[in-house]
């Protein structure tokens, strides 16, 4: 399981990069390997509001569909349209395959650093 020290993580397996005023959100390496080969992704639209703990996107494998939850509350400022045509990049490079950028962040859930997230995943596995 690949982790990046500069990122923060949520317990619902999203990674977050705080980049000035915006939060960039994606799916962790652990999450993508659990989900298997992804074949499609549904993203919100620019301007949509997202809320802490609520689904803002979903990803499909051949036999399952899973919600992706927002670790922050705010407004979507940009979506990664490239993912729509190439969902496999989430499997190939999860930390480059960002989903959305969220601005006007009002609230952020309690996030984990890489070590804490690693411990969390291991405790879940057990």
């Amino acid at each position: 399981m690949e982790l990046r020290a500069e990122l923060k993580y949520s317990k619902s397996h999203e990674w977050i990069k705080e980049d000035g005023d915006v939060s960039v959100i994606g799916l962790t390496d652990y999450a993508q390997s659990e989900l298997g080969d992804l074949v499609f992704i549904n993203l919100p639209e620019v301007g949509d509001e997202v809320t802490v703990g609520e689904a803002f996107a979903d990803v499909e494998s051949v036999k399952a569909v899973s919600d992706v939850f927002s670790p922050v509350s705010g407004v979507v400022t940009e979506i990664n349209e490239e993912l729509l045509d190439a969902p496999e990049s989430i499997n190939e490079a999860p930390y480059d395959a960002w989903f959305v950028k969220v601005g006007e962040v009002k609230e952020t859930e309690e996030l984990l650093d890489a070590d804490a997230y690693k411990a969390f995943v291991e405790s879940e596995e057990a």
């Binding site: 074949v39 499609f40 499909e60 494998s61 051949v62 036999k63 399952a64 569909v65």
Partner: protein, 436 residues
């Protein structure tokens, strides 16, 4: 008389012994007595095959088979090539389940892929699903597929087949989308009304073309009005008409739906038929129902599978856009065989003949005092008005074994011709009506 159970009483006993039970009833012992039927079912005793078939023939005889039919209104008697029934009777195809096990279902999967290709081609669209229940449910599903969080209203023309409108309304009683009916004006959709009332909350505009009265709508303009408001444009079409008429795509539609019955399925008192749904590529993942796609096996051999399944109910459960979990596969097969038998020339011929015969009949009926109400050009259906009560008109034909048009009211009758109606039949019907 029989239950198609092969095991003899001795064999059943032997099986019970092997697994340690005395009787079959022991296997039902854990079911509470209060819910068990006391004294058996109150239905007749079983019958032998000979008796069953005799009885079924007696029942069928109580129906009247009309050798000549001038009635359409949603169910159309076209010629069905002999090949169609032959193919759908093949047991490997007829008795199979949904082709989830692709390795042993390539035949069915390929037939659906071919069906999808033919329907997409016929309607001019990019993709087709594997079919839904019928034309009305296809229309209702199309309305639902166009709606999203911001657009929860649909405009449906009053000139669609009445039961299609009813089905759309019933579906919307469920999904709580708002349906606005665009009134008719001179027998076609009132475009001025639509222009005045359409707004940014409208998910789609749905019309039928040719409409319920057989008339050709100004389909191009309606599409432009819909798109201007950012709404999708759904056209419900008669597939046979596409042998001659512009495709929904050419008129600007985003989604095309309709009933596939005219393509090789018998009228059969209303079913089973098939609903087709095709759309432009950008809406592909919103298309409900089963879809078959091409892929390769692990050795690189080309083959077909059910695909895009994550949209469907067995995976998405309550988040699925539709609960449909079947298609009318055997009917889709029939449609595929029909279109292959007919070919380009045959389908065009069926369309042209249906239209030509309807126009011939309309002209003759006009000569017999039945005024043709359609102000626009019509395809293979048209409406007449006369002072003679519809009931009397139709009774006179029925007495001569002719099923006349469908009575819209006491004075108006909706007539239909297909390639099955000969000039002789038409002349005969008209001559009977001259006497009424």
């Amino acid at each position: 008389m029989g239950s198609y159970v092969p095991n003899t009483l001795d064999e059943r006993k032997a099986m019970l012994n092997e697994i340690g039970y005395e009787s079959i009833d022991d296997l039902f012992r854990h079911i509470p007595e209060q819910v068990k039927i006391q004294g058996g079912l109150d239905i007749p005793e079983g019958m032998s095959e000979m008796e069953v078939l005799k009885k079924m023939k007696e029942i069928a005889k109580k129906n009247k088979v009309f050798p000549t039919i001038f009635r359409g209104a949603g169910a159309y008697r076209h010629y069905i090539p002999a090949m169609v029934n032959n193919v759908i009777s093949k047991e490997n195809l007829q008795t199979a389940y949904t082709p989830y096990q692709a390795e042993i279902s390539q035949g069915i999967l390929q037939s659906i892929f071919e069906y999808q290709t033919m329907m997409a081609d016929l309607t001019g669209m990019d993709v087709s699903n594997a079919s839904v229940y019928d034309g009305a449910t296809a229309a209702a599903e199309a309305v639902a597929m166009c709606a999203d969080r911001k657009r929860k209203k649909a405009f449906v023309s009053a000139t669609v087949m009445p039961s299609v409108l009813e089905v759309i309304k019933t579906y919307c009683f469920g999904n709580e989308l708002e349906i606005k009916v665009i009134p008719e004006k001179d027998g076609v959709t009132d475009i001025d009304y639509l222009k005045e009332h359409i707004d940014k909350q409208v998910a789609c505009v749905l019309i039928q073309h040719p409409n319920y009265y057989g008339s050709l709508e100004d389909a191009q303009t309606i599409g432009e009005v819909a798109h201007e408001a950012g709404a999708k444009y759904v056209m419900s079409v008669n597939p046979i008409s596409l042998g001659a008429l512009k495709t929904p795509r050419e008129y600007g539609a985003d989604v095309a739906v309709g009933d596939g019955q005219p393509l090789g399925l018998p009228i059969a008192f209303g079913g089973p038929y098939l609903g087709f749904m095709t759309c432009v590529e950008s809406m592909m993942r919103k298309l409900p129902g089963r879809v078959v796609g091409e892929t390769e096996d692990h050795n690189g051999k080309k083959g077909y599978v059910l695909t895009l399944q994550a949209r469907e109910q067995h995976i998405r459960r309550e988040k699925a856009s539709s609960n449909i979990c079947s298609n009318q596969a055997l009917c889709a097969l029939a449609v595929g065989v029909y279109l292959s038998c007919m070919g380009n020339e045959g389908v065009t011929k069926a369309a042209e003949q249906s239209m030509s015969k309807a126009h011939y009949m309309a002209e003759k009926l006009a000569g017999a005092g039945f005024k043709v109400e359609n102000k626009q050009n019509f395809f293979h259906e048209f409406v007449t008005v006369s002072d003679t009560p519809s009931e009397k008109v139709l009774k006179a034909l029925e007495d001569e074994d002719i099923l006349g048009g469908y009575p819209l009211d006491d004075k108006r009758i909706l007539w239909c011709c297909t390639e099955m109606n000969t000039k002789e039949e038409i002349d005969k019907a008209v001559s009977i009506l001259k006497e009424v």
